[in-house]
């Protein structure tokens, strides 16, 4: 058995759920699991990493790694890989993961499988499954000529069992690599919403042209607030400037895979259906009974969104709060 290195992500020392998924999957594979955490708060992750299956954790406690810098992160991952000598490297297909690991792969002369939804580890062999054409089909990714097989997993694709507090990881303090940087992060502007990103959200409430105007998205945010959901949108309303591109679901937007996707006033262009087809349960609300969205939906409601959505918000409130 070899070593699996898991790049963990955390918010001020709180381990992300997506990282727990990776640690637990790595632990199940029977390989030795080595976690790595970056930044001033990296030390705070060690207990959670151990509870979720890490045998060892490399802590690179350095303020230069508090925010993502592609060059600094690449150098530091490469340095840890050199020390640990893993055969497999797992990371999230998050904004950071997706930007960072292709560069890491190029530096390590190895392969990377991006945006995967299934993971199979057997000894040193890894195959991953990823959606292609935003979910219009799926492909198995097989590694060749890859000393370190890097797999970037989408969030919410792997199960998370309760943490085992009897387990702990050996902590290895690893000195930060300090390459000459040509990249400078000048500012990080926080997003307006504290909600999970669409790609990580478990519940999504999405709106389309049927909402008639931008102001009516308020109705969706009210519903989303009750459900703890993230609000998404169709391409038509993004192009109309009602909401930002970050909210777009579809082939030229985000591919999503929530447990519950509620599409309001979205007719269902093929590009949108591709982006949301990974959702477990799909609810479509549209006044056109022939809208293509109903072909993908689990539950369909033909009717006026302006009547139904507020009623739904009330019903969810009742159902979730007693």
């Amino acid at each position: 058995m070899g070593k699996v290195l898991v790049f963990t992500e955390h918010t001020n020392g709180n381990l992300k759920r997506s990282s727990m998924e990776l640690l637990q999957a790595a632990a199940k594979s029977g390989n030795t699991v080595v976690a790595v955490a970056f930044g001033s708060h990296a030390g705070d992750v060690t207990a959670a990493a151990g509870h979720n299956g890490a045998n060892e954790i490399y802590v690179v406690k350095d303020a230069s790694l508090d925010s993502y810098n592609p060059e600094a992160f690449t150098a530091n991952i490469a340095s840890v890989v050199e020390k640990v000598q893993p055969t497999i490297l797992l990371a999230s297909a998050s904004a950071t993961g997706r930007d960072l690991f292709p560069r890491v792969a190029a530096r390590l002369n190895t392969g990377v499988a991006s945006d995967c939804t299934e993971l199979n580890i057997s000894g040193d062999t890894v195959t991953a499954t990823k959606p292609m054409y935003s979910g219009k089909c799926f492909a198995k990714v097989n590694f060749e000529n890859s000393p370190v097989k890097i797999v970037l997993m989408r969030a919410n694709q792997l199960p998370v069992a309760a943490a085992d507090t009897s387990k702990s990881a050996t902590v290895v303090e690893h000195a930060a690599a300090k390459p000459d940087l040509k990249t400078l992060i000048k500012e990080i502007v926080k997003g307006a919403s504290e909600k999970l990103d669409l790609t990580e959200a478990n519940v999504i409430v999405s709106g389309g042209r049927g909402l008639k105007e931008a102001a009516n998205f308020k109705m969706l945010s009210d519903l989303a607030d009750v459900l703890g959901a993230t609000v998404g949108a169709s391409r038509a309303v993004v192009d109309a400037g009602w909401v930002g591109h970050g909210m777009q679901v579809g082939q030229t937007g985000k591919t999503v895979a929530p447990t519950l996707y509620i599409a309001v006033g979205i007719s269902g262009a093929i590009q949108h259906l591709a982006g949301m087809s990974g959702s477990k349960v799909i609810v479509a609300i549209n006044n056109d009974p022939n809208a293509p969205i109903f072909q993908k939906a689990t539950y369909g409601i033909v009717g006026d969104a302006f009547e139904i959505v507020p009623k739904l918000t009330e019903e969810f409130k009742k159902a979730l709060h007693h």
Partner: protein
């Protein structure tokens, strides 16, 4: 200065996907090929940068089967690119593609800024820009929705999770992966299209680049279509009845609440 744009030709987003018999790809019969939508933003930004800096040139570059990829290169030329190069190749993975692009850019004397789309909508991998930057030993930034050029450096704004933005300064040369929102790509004008038709597109054979076969790192197999969904369950009644029935079904039947 020289500005490069790396583009990819992809099936139109309207395409209904059919799997090839050996399951390693898709059945390309009847597919309409287009310039990757995110690459349109890259071409537009490059042309704008060229126009704002007299004496500059936009070179557009793509790796793929030359007989079809030249169409997308001509689209980019019609949008205003000056020169085009096709690397004639079949079945490259992202790693080998990035290597090939880097080799050709180096052979052409390098570039001040290299644009590309943030990802290609076929494999959604978003990896070639970053690998290319690594092979060229220059900084990169992807998911870029704002770009400012200041000679020795560029400042970009990139969209990250939850609506957050990062403002990043990179020393040039630099690789920039364009996101939607960066600009409004122009439609190619008729004179632009006519001019593009007459342009000679430079051809480079992948085999001539001496990239080892071991630079292919991943291969796809076992491609499948998504599982068929059971038919939709329609919920009838007035709005109040529909709402309460839906919530009941989500809780008791689908068990997602």
């Amino acid at each position: 200065m020289k500005i490069f744009v790396c583009i990819k030709q992809v099936p139109d987003t309207e395409t209904k996907i059919k799997i090839s018999p050996d399951q390693t790809g898709i059945d390309s019969a009847g597919i309409k090929w287009v310039l990757n939508p995110y690459d349109e933003y890259a071409v537009e930004e490059a042309v704008k940068l060229r126009d704002a800096n007299p004496g500059s040139q936009v070179w557009v570059l793509s790796a793929g089967p030359k007989t079809r990829v030249v169409e997308s290169l001509r689209t980019a030329l019609a949008m205003g690119a000056d020169e085009a190069i096709v690397i004639n190749a079949e079945n490259l993975d992202n790693f080998a593609t990035a290597k090939a692009l880097a080799e050709v850019i180096k052979a052409e004397g390098g570039a001040k800024v290299i644009f590309s789309g943030k990802l290609a909508i076929d494999d959604n991998a978003s990896s070639v820009s970053q690998m290319l930057a690594e092979f060229l030993n220059v900084p990169h930034s992807t998911v870029v929705s704002k770009f400012t050029f200041a000679g020795e450096n560029v400042v970009v704004e990139r969209d990250v999770e939850g609506g957050a933005k990062e403002v990043v300064q990179m020393m040039t040369p630099a690789v920039v992966g364009a996101n939607k929102g960066l600009n409004m790509p122009r439609y190619a004008s008729l004179p632009g299209i006519m001019k593009a038709k007459k342009k000679v597109i430079k051809e480079v054979e992948f085999a001539s680049l001496n990239i080892p076969a071991t630079d292919v790192k991943v291969k796809y197999s076992g491609m499948t279509l998504p599982a068929e969904k059971p038919p939709v369950k329609m919920i009838s009644g007035d709005a109040a009845a529909q709402a309460s029935e839906l919530v009941k079904l989500l809780r008791d039947e689908a068990k997602v609440l």
